[in-house]
Homo-oligomer: 365 residues x 2
Amino acid sequence: MPHTQPDHSSAWAAGSPLGLHRVVEPAGVLPQAAWRLDSRPEIWPDEVRIRVQRLNLDAASFRQLHEASDGDADKIRHAVLEIVASRGKMQNPVTGSGGMLTGVVEEAGPDSPLGLRAGDRIATLVSLSLTPLVITDELARWDGRSEQVPCDGHAILFGRSIAARLPDDMPAELALSVMDVCGAPALTHRIVTASAVARPVVAIIGAAGKSGSLSAAAARQAGAAAIVGVVPHEAEAETLRAAKSADGVRGLVDEVVIADARDPVGVSAAVTKAGGPADVTVVCVDVPGCEGGAILSTAQGGTVIFFSMATSFTAAALGAEGVAADVTMLVGNGYVPGHAQLALDLIRSEPGVRGIFQSRIDHSE
Amino acid sequence: MPHTQPDHSSAWAAGSPLGLHRVVEPAGVLPQAAWRLDSRPEIWPDEVRIRVQRLNLDAASFRQLHEASDGDADKIRHAVLEIVASRGKMQNPVTGSGGMLTGVVEEAGPDSPLGLRAGDRIATLVSLSLTPLVITDELARWDGRSEQVPCDGHAILFGRSIAARLPDDMPAELALSVMDVCGAPALTHRIVTASAVARPVVAIIGAAGKSGSLSAAAARQAGAAAIVGVVPHEAEAETLRAAKSADGVRGLVDEVVIADARDPVGVSAAVTKAGGPADVTVVCVDVPGCEGGAILSTAQGGTVIFFSMATSFTAAALGAEGVAADVTMLVGNGYVPGHAQLALDLIRSEPGVRGIFQSRIDHSE
């Protein structure tokens, strides 16, 4: 039934790019806030239907389900099936979180802006917590022991959903790991490119991690004069020193400094000694209390980009005011157009970054 | 003993603009995080000493002290004196918060960058929680019933402290009320001026409040094409409609819309109908849950400035990603150079804004 528009009384019946027409209850909220979505397979003209191959449950959600099921495979399968059947999406009612999925495009509506075609292998970069989903295989192939869930069924993407084609030239696991953090290098690239300073000094706090190493490579590509990588201890410093830039000569970063990101005086003194203060500081470590150090490591007139979900809004706002820091502070938006492509291209061209990702994948097995 | 530099073994002995040389314990932290500061009256070359006239305790701190003292004036006086004597600053150990002070400049060091001279009447715009303070009058004139504390003593400003001269042409209470929120109009002015769109549409969520009305006036001055003011109910809508622009003809805002800022679909539909989506959206309401509405009210490529301390960092970051919103999201930094002057000038030139402030002051008496 291609492009059938089901009868729908809402004012959004023409198909909202946000998926408002799929919200069943409560009426008028966004799909993420909805208790229940309409997950029927017929698509609106700007939607895309995916044949699902695998769900990647959010870590917090999987942990909660695993514990509530006492590790019993039948119980956890039943729990997930029950959620998806009743809500029309995989949003854990306890944690509120979802995850992502991979699959193959089955049908793309004529008005879809996502640029996908039937047969494309894709990963969704919007949360399962807002994605209409139907499971048809009872999750028979899932042993319940990992957040990786082999699955057959269908899912719906809206006009403003985000999906990326899985590349043919690298393993899916590596590609997914890159896409998971692809907002950071894209926004770093944009801010370094737009910097008021022609060739800015960039500090990356947490430079040996996934989002940090990608952001360092993006800063280099965008014309950074010097890149200072901050890491918490010698082991990560060695990893970072060993990572070379695409030219095989320079390092992924120019200076590696070891400092506790939660110590404002310590980290700012270390960054300043290594060539700072920075014109652009990128925070990529998921520990609380890094706001002050990032602010003090940044020159007056500079910019701090916070990518850590442990960032405290008030600590950033009051911290800057408390030291009269005229710095622009950005909430790290995970969406920048073209972000997945930019990050995958960096993995292809930067062996140092690829090495960091590969080693993390190897060690998690 | 002018400009005497006390013996000090720290590397910062030359006098740190952040006041690190005044930190007694624990060593190496910022003054705000310190348990105890050195509050001696002798100033370093870049410091300023203030003769204190009044402390304005932070509302949360006053409430805690008032409750812990059972409303007894002697007890609450004793509690404040005890904190200041032991810590060298007025930072409530329970709430962590401070407040601000007013006073007269007694001595300005030769290297102070603050532009103050002996005899200037000033208000500090950095928190008491990081300001060295000594009280010498036992707070004898304070009845303990208000957060306004008449006080004699001295306080120290560092090189990177922020202070503003109290103007002669308006009551101190009005000036302080303006300075309290002066970061919002200053940053709004900067962002509207720098907008990629030549004459941007600006939405102010909470436009009838103090920071909202000032931000609306600042947006107008910075060249906004149209200003949409969002308010929660008809009473505030009437206030806003009655507020005229400096020319006495236009309104302070061009369109007034009533919407619940916590309802993303409702507020974005209202802003869009009134001339949006906005190129710049300014969030000035201190209620949680306004992130999604602000993001959806903003055009792709636009900017959201969050001034509300109730903003959730993760709600903003994940909210934008969930709807594929390519918007720049700023943490509202309370410090922008020249912010107090800009806000006071707006109060002088904009009778509509002054009326909103005056009515709030009258109603709080």
